[in-house]
């Protein structure tokens, strides 16, 4: 089954390119450390999901949307230059003028105006899939096009393709600000997506920036570096895994399987990804990994809400069994213990069958109303990913984002209380009422996650 990617805005298009590039490069890599047959099955599965073929050339199953042509042109030519895969010329939509960081402009002006054209492009791409699994929508939430138009399109995908799954890849802006109205744009986007999307996969710029600096040892970090790390993380989640352990059948319904296990509850849709190992090319040859070591670190990253392998707080421990839920909650808060709702661990590489995952099956890791049997899932494949002989990824629906979300809502509320910038939104039909709805919904989400 195939996934149609929708790349939106500057951020979405830049990341989309890196994601396809990472997926393709990995699937063609000969360092898979597995049998030829398995490698072929892996390739075929990756291809079915993300690429189609035109005259022998792999074409990304993607629709590129921006309200401004520069980025799309750039990305198209970069893909063509790769010599390996391409974007379809006919899957692009751009306009002359961007949304100017104004969510309302993207949502209420660009959205309705270009709805038909964009939905047509998507429809065409969907028709090229033998079987549609769902949509992967890449967008930032800070700007105007990705966020506003993204929210608009997701809603329309929800209406037009009610059975297809929708996952939004969301880029969370730098906490110190990259767009001044980013908090407004973010709360409007998030609250709208909460109504129309099935899952929000969130990446924070701050986090990835730190990974680039600390783990990848990059001195002068560019957006290209950041996007490559992000693409690596996504690849580690979306490259094929076995559907049944011990068979060579690869999972055909990756989005559905993931969502069913992680985001069935309407109030909990925010997913975070953690990867291990991640390091620069130079240090890789000097490192060896064991599953036990990797998983120990990954688990501690989960419970201490560490964003990367470096600087994990090893003091954080799961709460003692037998505490009443309320006591447990306050103790957790004190300890900065990160309570999970559900986790998915994806293991790739050598001896994957020997990895011991008991650490993730501890009921203390999870909320009181869901047991590990329902809350924990593991996917595996023996095929190694990227340059790593062994690697693990964690997709987690947990309290990871309570703090960032709370912060964004708080800042937006502060600004809203002074009515600053509101006139820019009312100009395009987003009234104060709309803001209040968004605040209400997100405050509830924060509260719900806190009460896990």
């Amino acid at each position: 089954m195939s996934i149609v990617t929708v790349q939106l805005g500057q951020c979405g298009n830049q990341i989309g390119f890196e994601v396809f590039n990472a997926l393709f490069t990995d699937s063609q890599s000969s360092q898979g450390l597995c049998s030829k047959r398995e490698n072929e099955a892996y390739q075929a599965s990756c291809k079915e999901r993300f690429f189609r073929e035109e005259k022998g050339v792999p074409i990304a199953r993607a629709v590129l949307v921006d309200m401004e042509p520069k980025v799309i042109n750039h990305v198209l030519s970069k893909a063509a230059q790769s010599g390996q895969w391409k974007y379809s010329q006919h899957a692009c939509f751009c306009q002359k003028q961007g949304s100017g960081n104004n969510w309302a402009y993207g949502y209420s002006v660009h959205g309705p105006k270009h709805e038909d054209s964009i939905m047509n492009l998507i429809q065409k791409e969907v028709e090229k899939c033998d079987s549609l699994n769902g949509f992967f929508i890449i967008m930032s939430i800070a700007g105007g096009t990705g966020s506003g138009l993204g929210a608009f399109l997701t809603q329309h995908l929800h209406d037009h393709y009610s059975n297809a799954l929708k996952m939004n890849q969301i880029i969370w802006p730098y906490g110190t600000g990259e767009v001044i109205v980013q908090n407004y744009n973010s709360i409007l986007t998030l609250s709208h997506l909460y109504r129309s999307s099935d899952a929000l996969l969130i990446h924070e710029n701050d986090t990835i920036h730190k990974i680039c600096a600390k783990l990848m040892n990059i001195k002068q970090i560019s957006f290209g570096d950041i996007n490559q790390v992000l693409a690596h993380q996504l690849g580690s989640v979306f490259q094929p895994t076995y559907s049944v352990e011990g068979s060579f059948h690869y999972r055909r319904n990756p989005l559905g399987d993931l969502m069913e296990n992680l985001v069935p509850h309407p109030e909990f849709k925010m997913l975070g990804v953690r990867n291990i190992p991640q390091m620069s090319e130079n240090s890789l040859p000097y490192s060896t990994f064991t599953w036990a070591g990797l998983l120990k670190h990954l688990r501690q990253m989960l419970i201490s809400n560490a964003k990367m392998e470096e600087g994990i707080d090893w003091q954080v421990r799961p709460p003692l069994p037998g505490l009443p839920p309320l006591g447990k909650m306050s103790q957790n808060r004190e300890q900065h213990f990160n309570t999970s709702l559900a986790n998915l661990v994806i293991l790739r590489g050598k001896d994957v069958q020997n990895a011991n995952l008991e650490g993730f099956k501890d009921p203390a890791l999870y909320t009181s109303w869901l047991g590990p049997d329902e809350a924990f899932t593991v996917w595996k494949t023996q095929r190694a990913f990227s340059r790593y002989e062994k690697s693990a990824a964690l997709v987690s629906n947990s309290q990871f984002f309570v703090k960032p979300l709370d912060t964004i809502v708080g800042k937006a509320w502060n600004m809203f209380a002074s009515k600053a910038y509101v006139h820019q939104y009312t100009k395009f039909g987003i009234e104060e009422e709309g803001f209040l709805d968004s605040f209400t919904l997100l405050e509830q989400v924060v509260a719900s996650y806190r009460n896990l």
């Binding site: 003028q97 809502v409 502060n414």
Partner: protein
Amino acid sequence: MTQSVVVQVGQCGNQIGCCFWDLALREHAAVNQKGIYDEAIGSFFRNVDTRVVGDGSSISKGKICSLKARAVLIDMEEGVVNEILQGPLRDVFDSKQLITDISGSGNNWAVGHKVFGSLYREQILEKLRKSAEHCDCLQCFFILHSMGGGTGSGLGTFLLKVLEDEFPEVYRFVTSVYPSSEDDVITSPYNSLLAVKELNEHADCVLPIDNQSLFDIISKIDLVVNSGKLGPIVKPNSLVTSGGTAFKKQHKKPFDAMNNIVANLLLHLTSSARFEGSLNMDLNEISMNLVPFPQLHYLVSSLTPLYTLADVNIPPRRLDLMFSDAFSKDHQLIQADPKHSLYLACALMVRGNVQISDLRRNIERLKPSLQFVSWNQEGWKTSLCSVPPVGHSHSLLALANNTCVKPTFIELRERFMRLYKKKAHLHHYLQVEGMEESCFTEAVSSLSALIEEYDQLDATKSLPVEDVQRLSIAV
């Protein structure tokens, strides 16, 4: 990609414009080596096949034939415009883009605004429409004018209202040159104040420029250049008014160097919209990010490093210094000290070989020394354009919506009041048809209201930053 139209009004506006077109041509020539007409060039120039009679049909693709500036030149005297038309830039303009008169406005806002305004309204409108027709997506009008004189100030602000009515969707960015206190025009306080009211009401963004600041900057450059520490080696292709500019009297006339700074400001401001970069910033993002309340649309700008403005080969200073400079008092294009005032919002537009990490590092570094309004503690807007200014590796334009503009307004009001109390020269104005006393009082109260708004914001400066009470979720 979008296009912009530059409307240059009055002597000052046209002189700045002249500099601007010269630099713009040279910048695009440096970036676009192949001579192909592309969208970046298209944002300021039309490509015209001159062999076709009439107004020359635009060519949207292919080789560059003949570039025409997307500009409307207005002056009520002929001098400057004629000079331009006889200068090296003559091919960039044609007579259909000009409106001139011979009488001049006599340094009288009322003449420019009321008399010439009604006289030339239709004509101006027609030229504007024409220029708009040549754009497939007109995004912005840049109005270049000075506040002190008659034409630029009067007709320039008249124009704003016309644009607002006629092109409500198109942004109006105004570069206003404020007179310095030792201005030789005696009525300049009147003119400026009357103009301020119009700017308050009809502009989307105003970039105030102070002649005194420009002059100080130029002097500083000269000082560095002549100090002997660094060889005054002229860079052949740098974007400064050296050899091949419209006026070949650079060092004699400080105005040229000063105009050059303003022209550079415009180029930098639009660079991220014209060229590729890893973090684009379109023009419409400027007002969206920097204007929290409709009236508070005055943006204080600073360009660093200053050597990009000079025609000298100075080894680059540390990158981080560039960021520090942008916040220092002596780099601002008006006399103001943003660092000790309150920031409502701030944009950092970077060109050249600078990455996001450099930007983040400097924001983190500078943040503690700056004071932002309570509801906008992270009020940063950033952009990264990969094309540096010609001949340099990087540069930075900082735009600040900061209460530091307030003293400029207060001073203006004081100078105005000094004259107005004496009713000096008032009759020159009142004899113009449609001009009444109330025009002055209204203008004063408009300016006072603006000052009051800044005052209120400044008042919050001393208060501790506290979160507002949020919605409380029951369960």
